[in-house]
Structures are given as C-alpha cells and as structure tokens.
C-alpha cells in the first residue's frame, strides 16, 4: 500500500494557502449535480454537511440517532482552543501548533497540526457569528480559561456545555440547509457497508432503524465523520451508541487504519460504582483550573477527607510536575493517578479514586465564583454520586475517553480509498499519541467547516457527476446481500449469552491488558482471548426480535461484532509499537523515573494497518514523520 500524505511543499505557514490556490474548483452551476454522502452529524459531519449544502452540493446526511442534534459532540464540556491571544499572554498560531505537536508526543503530522492551529481562529469567528453563546467578560468581549498542556489561556467556553453549543450551531446551520433543500437528512439510519466501485468510494448501504429496511445510497464521494471507537472498552465516556462500524467496514474495504492503539484515558471521570455500570461520566478537565488533586500520604487511609490534615496529603501532580501542576496533560495525569492507586493510596470503594478538591478555591474565590464556573458540573456530580462537591472533595478516576487513532487520511483528509474522506475523531490526523484538552472540538470544526469544502471540491472537479453508477450496480447488490446475510446470521445463532455480556468481557480484556499501561505478555494473552471470545460470539450470542422492526439488540449485536475485530487490531498495534509515547505506555519502555520513553529512531512514524483478508494478518504500513519545526525532545512538564 502506498501512503502519500500529499503534504504541500514550502514553508509550514504557507502550505495550506498554497494548496488552496492550487486546488481545482467546481463550477457553481455544476455543484448540485454532485451527490455527497456524509455519515455522522456531530461537529465534523454536521459542519461539513451544512457547509457543503451552502456551496450547493447535493448532500445526504445520515445519523443513527433520532436527530442530528444528538451526536456525542454534544457532551463535550470544557471548551475549544483558538490562538486568538485575546488574553495578551503571548499566544500565537505557532504556539498552539507547538503545544499540540508536543502534547501529542511527536506522533502527529506537523503540516496538519499547523493548519489546525491556523484555522482555530476562523472557527471562533464563525461560531460567534452563528450566535453560539460563549462566555463573556463584563466588557462584552469573549472570556477564556486554561486547559491542560498549555501555559496560556486560550480556551473558549460556554459554561460546561461548550460541545452542546457548538453542535447546536452546526445543527442549526444544517437544518437551514435541510429547509433549503440542499441537504436530505436520514436520521435513525445506520451505515452498515461501504460500496467501492473501480477502486473509488461510491456509496453506502444503510439500515433504516425504524423499518429495518436495507437501503443502497449512491454518491460521488463519501465522507465518514462517525466519531471514535472508545466503546471497544465497553465502559467509556462515549455515548452508548458510539461505535466503530462505519470506519471498520471502510477498513475492510481497503481504507488503512492508523495508530489504533492510541486511545486516550481521561484523568477526571466519576469512578465505577458497580458491575451494572453502563457508562462513565466525565468531569471536565477545566475543573483542574481550580481543583487540586490529592491522595493521602499513608496507604489505605480510610479517614474521611476532612479528617486528613494538610501535611498528610500528597498533592502529587503539583509535587511531580511543578511547572504544570494540576494542568499536566491527560496521559501524564492519568498514569500518575493509576500509580498512586496501585501504591494503595487510592480513595473510595476499592481504592480506585483520587480526590479533586475545591476547598482552597472556594476559600480564595468564594462559592459564587465557583458556581458560575462549574455549577452544572457540580450538580451533575451530585446527581450521580449523591455527594455534594462544595463540601466533600470529588472522587475521580481515569476512564477511556477519546481515540486519537482512526482511519488514515492524507493532508486532503482523504483515506487510502479515493473518494472516501474521513473527518473528526474518526480520522487519525492531528493529535498524535495524546490529544490535549479542548482540541477535539477544534479539529472537528476545522475539518468540517474549513478543510473539506475545499479538498472535496478539488476531488470532485476531477470526476464526472454520477459516472453512470446506479444502485443497480453489481457491487451495490453484493454489499447489500452481505449486510442482509450478516444480520440474519446474528439473529439465527440463538445462543445463550447476550450481546452486552460479550461486550463487557471484551471491555474487561481491553482495559486490563491494553489500557493505561501495556506490556508484551499481557497483549499477547489479550490477542488470544479476544480471538476466542469472537469465536464464541458467532456461536453463542443471543439476539431476540426480528429484522424488520426497531431492534436495538440487533443494532448492538452488529456493533459489538465489529468491536471484537477492532480490539484485536488495537492490541496488535500496541504490541508492535515497541516504545512508549503519549497514551501508549509500554511498561518495558520507560525512563528511570517512570515517564514514557519514546524510540524516535524506530517509531517516529504512523502505523497504517491494511486489511488482508479474513484469515490473514493485517499488514503494517509506515508513514514516516518528519519534525522540521518542533524539535524532537522528551516531553517535560516538570
């Protein structure tokens, strides 16, 4: 497989501008003749569908939820980064670029990250013009706060619901296009197969989740913006419906899957309370602006936090990383939490938790200020745990949150299948081995509002609309048959175990052996156990109900079948990457003081996995990464 990232030549500040000028255009009168499918309506998909509709392409947008407004971008709490330098704290596009490459532990592509930092300022302008109610100062100008991995204050926010407000902005723009007739919306539809004809993505097979009908949809290009695959761990901060099916189907049709083992564990989530738990809830990283993280110095200290005197507390992030303290990047903060819990100093049931304490901040700033900043997060915490964080410190523990890995894309955001573009969390492009806080929203919107409208035009200008392909084509018929057979097979097994029980078991394997820290033996064992579990799944899963109706068990069954395959690829990728970097921590490769030890000589590259058939091992292709502007160095937040 040839991986050509198509990075434009020239100095990094000029690459995007140069490419924009070099790209071909589609005549305005011809745009409506091109049909474009967008799967997923979160920040990336929603903004892409709206922007392409505005350009008058003929867009069909799909989401599995009942409305495009429900995509999981809506749950992002803390904020969105932009290099506006409104705070006069010496921020710049170059600094945001530098922080993001360094934060990603030098495993992202410099050119992509630079473009992201450039576009960040346009995103804020766009969203403000849409009426997104960002937080403001008394003078009427936009407010900012700080986030992990940065020493400047560049995060824009709308209380603790930034993702919601940005998504509603994109959703409203999308609905405007629905009304205008440029976008046709297909809610409660799930993409179950990609159709590739003569090496080009030409459409999808989708299931209408209400009628159960299997529908072919033909297009001139397909855009996947279907989010991340964190639910392979069963418990994660993702929504229950988040899945890998769309990108996994594309992978099996020839799209390379890049860096699947880069999965982010977020340090501040509400700890697991029992084995019935269905998901984990994030407590925004912004809380680390004012909250202090600590555990008792003594092992197995069961005193309530208020009884533990100051000198017997270990504010371990402030101690270990004095320069960044409680705002250390996510991978570092998560591992530190695991380490103190492994030492027996964790708090709460089972000792799997650390305190996030606001007592100092409340004393310093007053309860009113804390309520203004984090009121809704405090309420959410209290609803879930029954404890009042104004009086008792929050208990938090790391949880699976974000997938840096995803389908490989070039600088144009096109996958290795021509005509198949991948945006947002579903691609791998910008965050390397670790994503910094408030960067996911930035990437989703940069991809959807400002990159794809140009790069897609460049692609479409080179092909004829329709090109004689209809839903009657043999490849569509074959893809449809494959989907139907798979659904029928799942329904016919009638085994003894529910889909959820398999999913939980898979999640347990992934968390134990491919979670916050990994080692060769554990990964090898996980590979065997996942294969065995997948074997059992296709013999012993039990799916009730019928095909031609709303059947949530059947929906889940298809998604878990794909997770059972993806889990294996993640472990394989983790096994082959014989270094530690960002969120990927291999116990065999660490510095004497327990930090990640990269191996730039052998692993300064993207691993792009190529599907090689049902019974063959996938092929590991390499895209070397070059660092011309941010020099390779061991990350230090000390």
């Amino acid at each position: 497989m040839k991986l050509d990232a198509r990075i434009p030549a020239g100095p990094i500040e000029q690459k995007w501008d140069k490419l924009k000028f070099d790209m071909k255009l589609v005549n305005p009168a011809n745009k409506r003749k091109y049909k474009v499918i967008v799967v997923g309506t979160g920040l990336a998909g929603g903004s892409a569908a709206a922007s392409l509709g505005e350009l008058s392409y003929n867009v069909e947008a799909f989401c599995y939820q009942d409305s495009p407004r429900r995509a999981h971008s809506i749950a992002a709490q803390g904020g969105i980064n932009a290099a506006k330098n409104y705070q006069n704290d010496n921020d710049s596009v170059f600094r945001l670029f530098y922080d993001t490459v360094k934060g990603g532990d030098f495993r992202s592509r410099e050119a992509n990250v630079y473009r992201l930092a450039q576009l960040s300022v346009n995103i804020i302008d766009q969203c403000v013009a849409q009426g997104v109610p960002f937080a403001r100062e008394y003078g009427g100008l936009l407010a900012n706060r700080s986030f992990g991995g940065a020493q400047v204050s560049r995060t824009f926010y709308a209380r603790g619901q930034t993702g919601q407000q940005l998504l509603l902005g994109a959703y409203q723009a999308l609905e405007r296009q629905v009304k205008a007739g440029t976008v046709k919306m297909f809610p409660r539809h799930e993409m179950l197969e990609l159709v590739v004809i003569d090496g080009r993505a030409r459409g999808i097979i989708a299931r209408d989740l209400v009628s159960g009908e299997i529908e072919p949809h033909v297009a001139d290009a397909v855009i996947l913006a279907t989010g991340g695959y964190g639910n392979v761990f069963y418990l994660s901060t993702n929504a229950k419906g988040c899945n890998t099916t769309a990108i996994w189907r594309a992978y099996k049709k020839g799209a390379a899957f890049a860096n699947p083992c880069f999965t982010q564990i977020h340090p501040t989530c509400i700890p697991v309370s029992g084995d019935y738990q269905s998901k984990l809830t994030l407590m925004s990283e912004s809380l680390r602006n004012d909250g202090r993280i600590w555990v008792p110095k003594k092992k197995e200290d069961t005193r309530p936090p208020s009884q533990i005197p100051e000198e017997e507390r270990d504010y371990y992030l402030e101690r270990m990383y004095p320069a960044f303290g409680n705002l250390s990047p996510r991978d570092i903060a998560s591992r530190a939490a695991k380490r103190v819990c492994d030492e027996g100093r964790g708090v709460g049931p089972g000792g799997r938790g650390v305190y996030l304490d606001f007592a100092d901040a409340i004393r310093r700033l007053g309860r009113q200020t804390i309520t203004e900043r984090y009121g809704n997060l405090f309420e959410m915490y209290e609803r879930i745990t029954g404890e009042d964080p104004y009086r008792v410190p929050m208990r938090i523990f790391p949880a699976v949150h974000y997938a840096m890995g995803g389908l490989w894309v070039d600088y144009h955001l096109m996958s290795t299948i021509p005509g198949l573009f991948v945006l947002g969390e579903a691609n791998f492009s910008d965050h390397g081995a670790n994503r910094l806080g408030a960067s996911a929203l930035m990437q989703g919107l940069a991809d959807g509002y400002f990159v794809i409208p140009y790069t897609l035009g460049n692609f479409l200008a080179g092909v004829k609309p329709g090109d004689g392909i209809t839903a009657d084509h043999a490849e569509f018929a074959a893809a449809r048959r494959a989907v139907e057979e798979r659904l029928r097979r799942l329904l016919a097994i009638q085994g003894k175990r529910t889909v959820d029980s398999f999913h939980r078991e898979l999640g347990h394997i992934m968390w134990e052996d491919c979670g916050m820290s990994r080692h060769r033996k554990g990964l090898e064992s996980a590979l065997g156990r996942i294969r065995a579990l997948r074997g059992e799944y296709w013999q012993n899963v039990k799916v009730v109900g019928e095909e031609a109706e709303i059947n949530q068990a059947l929906e889940k069954a298809g998604r878990v079948a794909d997770f059972l395959e993806l889990g294996e690829l993640i472990c394989r990728d983790a096994l082959e990457r014989k270094e530690s970097c960002g969120a990927h921590f291999r116990e065999e490769y660490q510095t004497p003081d327990g930090e990640a030890l990269r191996n730039d000589a052998q692993f300064a590259h993207v691993a792009a996995w190529e599907y090689a058939g049902e019974n063959a091992s996938p092929i590991r292709n390499i895209e070397p990464l070059e660092f011309e502007y941010v020099h390779l160095a061991q990350r230090s937040y000390k």
Binding site: P68, I74, N122, A135, A239, K240, I550
Partner: protein
C-alpha cells in the same frame, strides 16, 4: 432492592399498545434508572422476550435522547434531571412505577417508550438559526455582547430538545421548546437581522405540527431538565406579536446591468 414496573409495550406505530407488569429483582440504589432497565432487558432476553425499547445515548443528561413518564411525571420525580441521570436512591424498595412514552399527537409512538420527535427538527429548520454561510464571518471580538444578555441567551440555549415540556403540557404545546430557541437568538445582536421572520416562521411551524397552544400552566418549566424558564414563552409571545405587526416582506431584487 426490588421494583415493580408497569411499562407501555407497543410493537410499532400501527399496533395498539398496553401496560405490562414486570418485577425487577436485584437492583441497587446506586444504579441509574436506565441501568435498572438494562437489568430488566438482560433478563427479558434470557427469557426469550422482546426487550423494552427506549431512546438513550449519552447517559449524561445532555443529548436529549432519553425520556419517558414515570408515574405521570416526565423524567420522573427528581427536578432538573433527565431519566438517564435519575438514580434509584430516589425510590423505595418494592415501589410500583408506571412507565409511559411521551403522549402527544405530534410525537407518534414508534415502539414501547420511543416516540418520533422529528417535529422539533422541522421547527428549528423553519428559522432557528442565523442565516450566515461558512466563511467570511467578522472577527469574533468586533461585536461585544452585554454579559447579562449573553448569560440569558445561554440559559435559553441550554435546551436539549428532549420533549418533556410537550409531554407534561395538558395541551401538548411545544411553546417552551420553540421559545427557548427564539429567545436565545433574539437576545443576541447576531439574531437581530432575522428576528421577525424567525418568530413568525417558527411559531407557524409549531402550529402546523399540531402542537397545542400555551395556556400558562407552567408544567413544562416544572419538568424541564435544564431549567428553561417560562419567561421565554413570554418573550416569544412578544416577539411574535411585534413581528406580526411590523414585519414586511423584503423588496424583490431587481436586475442590474
């Protein structure tokens, strides 16, 4: 603990539905209400019965997917809480509960506790936006917004579109939902240019979807998980009346050279 549930079961949009009694054993106070239904569903599957269908996704109270009536109250007994964030510590061991879907003509039942809320999307499509295309937006700080106004706009913009307001209203009115969006945009300078058209078109769409009218019961505000205030409906009514009096269609464009 144990709960006795009476759940509305309906196969599809056409079929008649009925209440069915279930006993859920071995649940505990730390579970969320939906986790309790997960336990019931695992049990139903084990007994070869169709699990109870209900909409849910984020399970952290923000996506707006979930929601049904518990003992006649939308999202159940705890104020300011979606059903996914409602925990069993608010119920008693052995308590008997009746679960029903949102009931409104504009929200037809699709299956069990799932209803079709696409009418909400059409109300937004009628005008719930600022008509600007991507690109060419002015520098963000070139337009200061009074903090109080921005905060009020944010209060209204928090609506998650769950539909509880409609379910709670004796008239099945969508006024609180529609008013929240009209308010959010009317309070901001960005929304000013389309203020009149927006109010007229969104209210007209709300009526076309067969939602009822508002008669100031206030049930919507009482059940709203995001605390959207009734004052937004007052603001919507003012916007609508003003627009009905003052609105003029824009002049048709005439040709140039």
């Amino acid at each position: 603990m144990k709960l006795i549930l009476h759940i509305w079961r309906q196969k599809d949009r056409q079929s008649p539905g009925k209440m069915v009694r279930y006993e859920v054993q071995n649940v505990n106070e730390h579970m969320s209400f939906l986790e309790m239904l997960d336990v019931l569903n695992e049990d139903l599957i084990a007994r070869n019965q169709d699990p109870v269908a209900f909409d849910h996704d984020c399970r952290e109270g923000i996506c707006g997917s979930c929601g049904f009536m518990i003992n006649g109250v939308a999202h159940g007994p705890q104020r300011g809480t979606t059903v996914c964030q409602l925990h069993l510590r608010h119920f008693k061991d052995g308590q008997e509960l009746w679960l029903e879907p949102w009931r409104a003509r504009a929200f037809p039942v699709l299956k069990d506790l799932i209803v079709d809320r696409s009418a909400f999307d059409r109300i937004i499509a009628a005008g719930g936006y600022v008509s600007i295309n991507t690109g060419g937006a002015p520098e963000a700080n070139s337009l200061p917004v009074e903090k109080t106004k921005a905060d009020l706009a944010m209060d209204a913009a928090q609506c998650i579109g769950c539909g509880a307001c409609v379910a709670a209203c004796p008239n099945a009115s969508a006024s609180l939902f529609t008013a929240a969006k009209i308010s959010h945009l009317a309070l901001l300078p960005q929304g000013e240019a389309e203020r009149e058209r927006r109010a007229l078109n969104m209210v007209a769409q709300m009526q076309a979807e067969l939602f009822g009218a508002c008669t100031n019961h206030g049930e919507c505000e009482a059940v709203c998980p995001k605390g959207i205030k009734l004052e937004n409906i007052a603001r919507m009514n003012r916007e609508f009346v003003q627009a009905a009096c003052l609105h003029r269609e824009p002049a048709r464009e005439t040709g140039g050279a």
